[in-house]
Each structure stands twice: as C-alpha cells, then as structure tokens.
Subunit: 395 residues, 2 copies
C-alpha cells in the first residue's frame, strides 16, 4: 500500500468520546472510504476502524480483490452473516442492518461514530439493532485527509503535469486559430468550446487522467463560474479554461484555471484581468502555515473591493464581481478541506489548496486565474508550472 | 425540461404515511437528486418534494443556473436564511440544519421522509431542530426511476450507440494485431489492455460519452469480474471487454460486454463461451413483463449449473463459476433498479436491464456476454446492436 494513513486523531476521538469504532458505509466514490480502506469498489462496502485495526465487510464479488489490495487488518464477506437468507427473511433494508450489526458484534463494537454523510438508512437500522450511532460532526477524517503525505503530493503533482499538458494544448488551439467574422476558426470550422474540451480530454487520457467536466467558457457563459461553456469561441472576448483532471489509477485530482483573449477584449476586461491577477498574487503572498484560509480569502477580497468590484463579503447577494471563495483543498476530492473562504481555519504544512480569485459580470464576461499550491512552514510551494497571461501563445 | 418525472407514487406514500415532504440532500452525482431536481451541481444542494411541488435550496453560486435549468417550482438560496451568520454563530454543522429547518418551516413542513442514503448528519441535525425524519426504506424514487420514459430510452440508446462504436474499435485492434511470441502486437509494440482502453475512451469522447472505468482483461485478470485488466494481451487467451459509458450531457449510462480470443484459447475456454452464450440466450428468452428478475437469474443459473459449473446459488461461497448476478437496471446509475438476481422482483415494461451471465476461473480465464435491453409487455427489445462471437473481426 502506497498511502500510509495515520488515523491516530480518529482513534483519540473515539477514546475520548468512549466509542468503540468508526464506521464508513459507502462505495469508493466517497473519498474518505477510499482513503481509510485503501480499497476501491463501485458498490457500497463497510469499513470499521477500531482500537485493533481497520476491518472491511465486502460482498463475495469483491472479496478476492479486497484481501489482496485493501489496507485492512481483516476482510470479511457478507455471506459470513448469511446475508442472502436475511434478505429473504427481512428484506434488503433490514438485512443490511442485521448483517452489519453481526459484523460489529464480532468486533466487540457496541457504539460507533459515523461521518456526516453516513446513510441515515444504515444509521437508523443499526440503532434498531441496539447499536449507539453518533455523528462525528468535526470532520476528523477530512482534517486528516487535508494534510498530504509525500506520496500523495507526488500523485497530485502528476495530475497537475497532465493538466499543464492539456492547458497547453487548449491554449495552442486558441492562439493559432484564425479569426473570421469575429469568431475563432480552425480548419475552416468554428473553434467551439466542445472542440477545445475534446482536445483537453484526449490529452488528459494520454496522461492517465480523466475528468467529468471541463470549463471552456467564452463571453457571458464565463460570467457563471459553473457554466461549462458551449458553442463557438469569439474573438475580443474573455475565454475561461478551468481543468480539474483526476488520475484514473490513484484518484488524486489537480486543478488549474487560465483566462485568455484573442484580439481586443476591451479596456474593462483588461482591467479586470489585472485586478484578478493582483488578487491572485496577493492571496499567494498571504499563504503560510499559521495563516488562516479566511485571511487569505480576505486578502483577495481586499484587492478586488479596492478596485471597485463587489465580493460576497461586501454584498452577500451580489451576482457579479467575486462570487465564490478564493480556494479549496484538493486531493481525492476536487473540493475538500481546508477551505480558503470566510470560514477557513488555520493552514498547515502539507495542505494542498487552490488559489483562484475571479471577477464576473455577464456584460463583460469572466476572469479567473488559478494555481494549485502546497502550504509550507514559511509560505507555499507552487505545484503549477504554467505561465499567467491574457494573450494566448503557442509553444 | 426534457425529463418529465412522475412523482405521484412518492406523493401517495407521503400522504399515506402523513408526512409533509420528501427531502434529498446531495450533489448531482446522486442519481435521485439529479432525477428529481432536474438540476446538476457539484456540491450538495437540497430538494424538497411536497404537496405543492418541488423546491430547491441552493448556494448563491448555483442560484442563477438553478432558476434557469432546474425542474423546480421554486428555488431559494441559502443566504435567505442568513447562512453565513449561522456558520459564524453555530459552526458549519449546526448552521446547515438550522438553515434547512428554516427552509422547511417556510414550506410548512414538519415531518419528512428521506432516502436511505440521506446524510445522517443532516437527519440528526434536523431532528435536533424538532423535525420528524423517517427513512423511506422501500426505495420509491428508485422504483420510479426504474421505468424509463421515452426520452430516457432515447438517451440510453444514444449512449449504447457510442458504446458499440467503442467496442468495434477495440475488436478491430484485437482482430488485426500480429501475434509474436504468444502476445498481440501492433506497430511493433505489445497491444496492452491500456492501449485498447485508450482507444475505447477516445472513441467514446468523440461520441460525447465518458467513463471512469473500462474493463479490458485478459487471462487470469478476467477471472475477477471487477479487475480492469492491465499489461499485454495474449494470444490463445480469453479477453473480456466490458464498457459502460455515460453521456456527459444527460448522465445516462449504457453497458455492454463481449469476450474475444485470438488464436486457440483451448477446448475448455470454448466450452465456457458456448455455455455462457446459452445462459445469455436463455435469460433473454425468460424476460417479459410479469416475469421476475429472480426467475431470469434462475434461468441463467440453470444453464450454467447444468453444464457442471458452480453458481452462487449452488455454492454461496464459490470463487469460481458464475459469481455475480445476471443483470441490473441501467439509467442515471450504472447499477440501479430492477435487480436481475435472487432478490429480483417483477419486471415491468420500460425497465432497462443488462443481461450478463459469465463463468470465471483463474486457471481458464473469464467469459462474459452482456446486452442492454428494455422490457416490453411480451418480451424485450434489445438496445444493443452488436454481434456475439468469440473470434474478433475487423469491419
């Protein structure tokens, strides 16, 4: 197992709250499940952390792979508890609670903490079986996951290398497009958001990464930070490209955004680009161990408000200006701890965060500049090696 | 909105159980959330179904898109309930329950049903705020989702067309490879699982589909139905290719598996292929409205056991033979209702299911043949247009 997880803070919590174990019931799309179990499966399985180790309960279909791959001290299969008979007798809903209660009893566990997103069906089912189930509301596993091991940093770096290759391909397509009737054109066809996205995705695939969504948004589309963009890319308009690939083997994400314009986007768009760039640089300078995510976010807001644009701090209801937070943790989830927002707490060495201020308005378009960094004792190391500039260039 | 969801069975349940509403708290990776809200967002949002409609609670970031896109009668943003102030006062965990309780109060809702996978943190938080929260354990929304509308069938057909193109590309690569020292070779390099997977994924991308995992597994790898396969593909061995793409726009999956062999896989492998094919044909013949998933699964087991191989029915602990169920529903989830397994209930017109028996043994390899079909009154319509045959051919 490459990922050596330190669950000591979780065990300390269990001990101080006098709970026998911590239980996850999810498939491997749940980052905490994947992290704690060291295993991936498409259907839900259960991971118990107690004082003598990490224990998996899996279906017969997963048993072979789980015993070989998982970072678990024991693997038990559901059929041990006559699961199919329980389904016949009690239905699938109650059968699951009964099998799980028997598994917990085998481990001497009578009281458990569960993550906030633990299924209510399982929690209430276990309560009916006499177990004490308490929600662990501090997010201890998320906090543990926020600090990356050296191995995890390597995986994130690798995903960001793929990201840089994909961004370079996208930038090249935009830089070398012809301009006809105000539209970008290549090979006689309009260069669309969809064509650029396809080029990005193929580049990522060749680097072992995949992604569910990419943002290649032009003009008013880009004024909504979650709009993926569609249709022809125009000259004289801002084009936001935000790529967040995930390594298909390891599951680790990367994240980067650049904003480009061909032709003349206009004075106001250029000003917004420079203000965003200053907010990005100022936020980066504010990062160090001991600073809070709130302070870093505040530093970005200061710049943007100082230039006369709204932020959610100056107007919580604004739909233009800087309408999201400055950044977020990145790892097995694309959005994870720590937060670089008004609620963001202390940054610690090993935290991997995005720094991504932006300014949006449908009348002008969107600007966003985003790097991925790792917090160090006295500042940060930038995990992103990609030029910042509004004018696209081909290498 | 293209998807016209009929939630009448859910409202009947609420009425009969005297509950005021049904609440989903998840991001759009949850199929029920996507289906009921008609909206997609990467972070959790809340969807309330009550007697006067469907109501969304979203962050400010999603508000514009939600009002434009969602199939909701009302959209409210979190800031309506002073969410940021609540976070400052009570912390993020309790702030969410308080904002959500205020939203429910605005709709006159005091008691709610929630899906089994509803977050325990939210359920217990709402209970602390005085709400009555009951798990809806029958899976009513999953049952509604199992029966596809004509629009949904079109989306699934479209994903299966992409799948057929990708399978054809994979088959062609295998069919036209050279054989050197027992390995498949193309352009002087070994033809690996990874190379075939990349060709599949690029084909899918060009058809607007993506996938997290593909299975291209050869020899002993293919004896584990969830092993994705890796390394060089060998001649004289069974190669299982299982592709389950998802349309990137609509979110609908398709699913298909074929097994190929170049050279001479041997008599036992050929026999297993023929038995699997007979099980697949027999299971298909058993499908019709009114038959149960259990009966269809039983028909496949009869064939495989009759040929002398184990199934989970003949030996629940077996690790060889037919070690999974015959099929599953496919839609916004790759595994959804109905089940074609020992627990499978009545099949109904409009159910979309896979039929995919297989036989596995590390000593021989794996065989699986899978089509995607839609149940009709008197049988089924096959949504898959792809030849079944062990010998790969290039078109």
């Amino acid at each position: 197992m490459e990922l050596d997880v330190d669950l000591a803070p979780l065990r300390e919590h269990l001990e101080s709250d006098r709970l026998d174990g911590y239980l996850i019931d999810d498939d491997a799309s749940d980052a905490a499940q994947r992290y704690v179990s060291g295993f991936t499966a498409p259907d839900p399985y259960q991971t118990l952390v107690d004082d003598d180790g990490t224990h998996l309960l899996v279906s017969g279909l997963e048993y072979g792979r789980a015993t070989a791959d998982a970072s678990a001290d024991s693997v038990t299969r559901l059929s041990t508890y006559d699961y199919q008979e329980l389904v016949g007798e009690h239905g699938a809903y109650e059968a699951k609670s009964r099998a799980l209660a028997a598994f917990l009893e085998d481990h001497g566990v009578e009281s458990i903490a569960v993550p906030q997103n633990f299924p209510t069906g399982t929690a209430d089912g276990l309560r009916e079986q006499g177990l004490a189930v308490t929600v662990e509301s501090e997010g201890i596993v998320e906090t543990i996951r926020a600090t990356k091991t050296d191995w995890e940093l390597e995986q994130i770096r690798s995903s960001q290398r793929a990201n840089e290759a994909a961004m370079a391909r996208a930038e090249e397509l935009i830089a070398t497009a012809d301009i006809e009737d105000g539209l970008l054109v290549r090979d006689g066809e309009p260069l669309t958001s969809e064509r650029v996205t396809e080029a990005i995705e193929i580049t990522l695939l060749r680097h072992g990464c995949a992604l569910d969504e990419t943002i290649v948004a032009c003009g008013a589309d880009a004024a909504d930070p979650h709009d993926r963009g569609s249709g022809p890319l125009a000259a004289d308009e801002l084009i936001v490209i935000d790529i967040f690939p995930r390594d298909k083997e390891t599951g680790y994400f990367a994240d980067m955004t650049r904003t480009f314009a061909r032709g003349e986007p206009g004075e106001e768009a250029r000003r917004r680009y420079e203000v965003t760039r200053e907010a990005y640089e100022t936020a980066l300078e504010a990062v160090e161990a001991g600073a809070t995510g709130a302070e870093v976010h505040g530093a970005a807001c200061d710049v943007i408000e100082g230039a006369g644009y709204d932020t959610l701090r100056s107007d919580p209801d604004t739909e233009t200006g800087f309408i999201h937070s400055t950044g977020h943790g990145v790892g097995l989830d694309i959005h994870e701890q720590p937060s670089v927002s008004p609620a963001g707490g202390d940054l610690e060495p090993g935290h991997v965060i995005s720094i991504e201020p932006g300014i949006y308005d449908p009348a002008v378009g969107g600007v966003r500049i985003e790097d991925l960094i790792v917090v160090t004792e006295d500042g940060y190391e930038n995990l992103t090696n990609y030029r910042v500039g509004l004018e696209p260039t081909a290498e």
